[in-house]
Subunit: 368 residues, 2 copies
């Protein structure tokens, strides 16, 4: 027999907000008015960079989805369907699932018609983002999980689903960062900074040297672009517990983009930058200056056209306008070279643990 | 200061084997003979399916790599270079790294020449497989890690790097399966079977319902094709501790291939099937019969040409000749349909926990 999962106070609040959509629509119907839902516009025209908060966010433009507008009615129906299902089957039941499972659970032929509720997942996924935006809740708070990736170790004790987990006592594996970290209670943190590494190999090397212990830090790896769970966990540790967050990626446009999303948020998810972004994050490396300073020139890779194109795009983003970043990007475009984290291994396998990271952190040699 | 990592008795044994290559070559040189190394042939012609052991393995054909043969001498040099480096820098130092880092660490211009030791990673990677095959050691025992993926929960207690980790007390996250599980000591196992799931979403659903607790099992997810660490961990739990291993994937050729690699081994790694393969593994689903039995027809996906092509290939492999598998594959080819695990969510989000898995396991309804 499956355990009855728990419903938290936050679940009750989220359920209340979901109900509010239904209530408003029911009232409109009772009054004989055309039912509709309103939501912030998420297209590029309504996304801007808030310089003060240092994050991407949505503007004030709103759109209306009306049942009586034939161009909207199918989407309106789907909005009601998803809102009701998420409320009744997930949030009020304390059950979590994925977007793909939701699509299968919702797909059926509407009785008496040949019309399907949803034909493909591409129809149900955006409705979840609509609800996220309308109600100012995270997708994870709707009990819909994103992909998982990434692991963490360090002097941190958490409480999660009744278990007390000490991230410093997990052997070589580390704690698997789940999709949803909303209910993870951070009980004790004894760390001077968080080091979030793009690549698992560097994470494993540092973990083997117990870098997190000697340097008193939290080590995380995103294994590529950071999943939502990692971004949210980094935000909670860094913002709520006031611990600096340093990002360590390859020295190329893709690495910078990983940094950019962790720090400032992303255009797709501009409506949740305040919870997924960490504006105080700093870029520790690998920088173009590192390549000269640590004599890594022989270990760089010729940049492809796409690398240069992407670098030029980033150079124009409002959030990369700091002169230090402009200089960094120009240097890459001019030199036509990029460098991977692994290039540091040319100096010896413990170079990263014993020299590179302690030096950079000691001198506070970061990009903003 | 980085912690001095430990050197295990197995490290000493592996170092001895690595030294033996150098010793043999040194003796040949002293005797004025052309130095060479011998290794089993790894091409298709020397790979066969051992019906009795139920695993892919290498035959007896051997090849010789000779320094005096101009077609071999570069590769011979690289074999010596990698063997020496792995022995001195990794195994004897107790340091672990990745293939990519190794490539960077080895790359340099040979003094007095314009020749580089290695030009690209494609040159150094195969040498590691050569050494694996020659010395009958795992790549992980050479301290070279593969990609990591996957997590595990259940009533198991392990000891790893001095930490005691209880897989039943890790909250929602679970234990991150590392690349190298050779030094993980399995201290206590209280499980009737291991359920290895292709998709993380199903793993998270089952974990949320604490399926591993109510059903007394170990839950693992591979998140796609199983990484070496997962295959080795499944092998150690299932073979050494005599616990049945059930594999749960999508009902399609890709899912069957995941199963096939976990059970019988893979052609690429035929030389290590005995440690990475688990011949007793059973396929729990999703099967073509499940689609009819659980009325999932509306939730299947039309198979593409590539799906059918791949299914026909698998049908011809010696290890898929069991009549039950032949029937299963024929059914898919005839019906031109495939099904994802998530299709079960059309029956309700707890259907998998409360109905599907208990029924299939209760009736021992597996494919061999």
């Amino acid at each position: 027999m499956a355990r009855k999962t728990t419903v938290t106070p936050r679940d009750k609040e989220v359920a209340k907000r979901l109900h509010s959509i239904g209530k408003q629509v029911a009232e409109e119907i009772k009054k004989g008015e055309p039912p509709n839902v309103k939501m912030p516009v998420r297209s590029l025209s309504n996304i801007h960079f808030n310089e003060k908060k240092e994050q991407l966010e949505l503007g004030n433009a709103m759109s209306k989805r009306s049942f009586m507008n034939v161009a909207h009615s199918r989407k309106f129906m789907q909005t009601m369907l998803v809102t009701n299902w998420v409320c009744k089957e997930l949030v009020e039941e304390g059950i979590t699932t994925s977007l793909r499972d939701m699509y299968y659970a919702l797909k059926r032929t509407i009785p008496g018609t040949k019309e399907n509720t949803v034909e493909e997942q591409g129809e149900s996924d955006p409705i979840v983002v609509d609800i996220e935006t309308m109600l100012d809740v995270l997708r994870e708070e709707l009990h819909l999980n994103a992909d998982v990736r990434g692991r963490v170790v360090g002097n941190v004790v958490i409480k999660d689903r009744g278990d007390t987990v000490d991230w410093s006592k997990l052997g070589s594996g580390g704690w698997s960062i789940p999709s949803n970290v909303e209910n993870v209670e951070i009980k004790k943190v004894d760390a001077e900074y968080i080091l979030l590494i793009e690549k698992n190999a560097a994470f494993e090397r540092l973990h083997e040297d117990r870098f997190w212990e000697s340097e008193k830090c939290v080590l995380m790896t995103s294994q590529g672009q950071a999943a939502r769970g990692i971004r949210r966990l980094a935000n909670r540790l860094s913002v709520d517990h006031k611990i600096p967050l340093y990002i360590f990626t390859d020295g190329d446009a893709y690495g910078w983009y990983i940094y950019s999303v962790i720090k400032w948020g992303s255009m797709n998810l501009a409506h949740v930058s305040d919870r997924l972004g960490t504006p105080n994050a700093k870029f520790i490396g690998l920088t173009m200056t590192d390549i000269d300073h640590y004599d890594l020139g022989d270990y760089t890779i010729k940049a492809k056209d796409l690398d240069i194109k992407r670098a030029k795009e980033l150079k124009n983003y409002p959030w990369f306008q700091d002169p230090e970043w402009q200089k960094e990007i120009d240097k890459m475009i001019k030199g036509q070279r990029k460098a991977e984290l692994e290039a540091l291994s040319s100096k010896g396998l413990r170079f990263i643990t014993e020299t590179y990271l302690p030096e950079k952190i000691g001198k506070k040699d970061f990009l903003p």
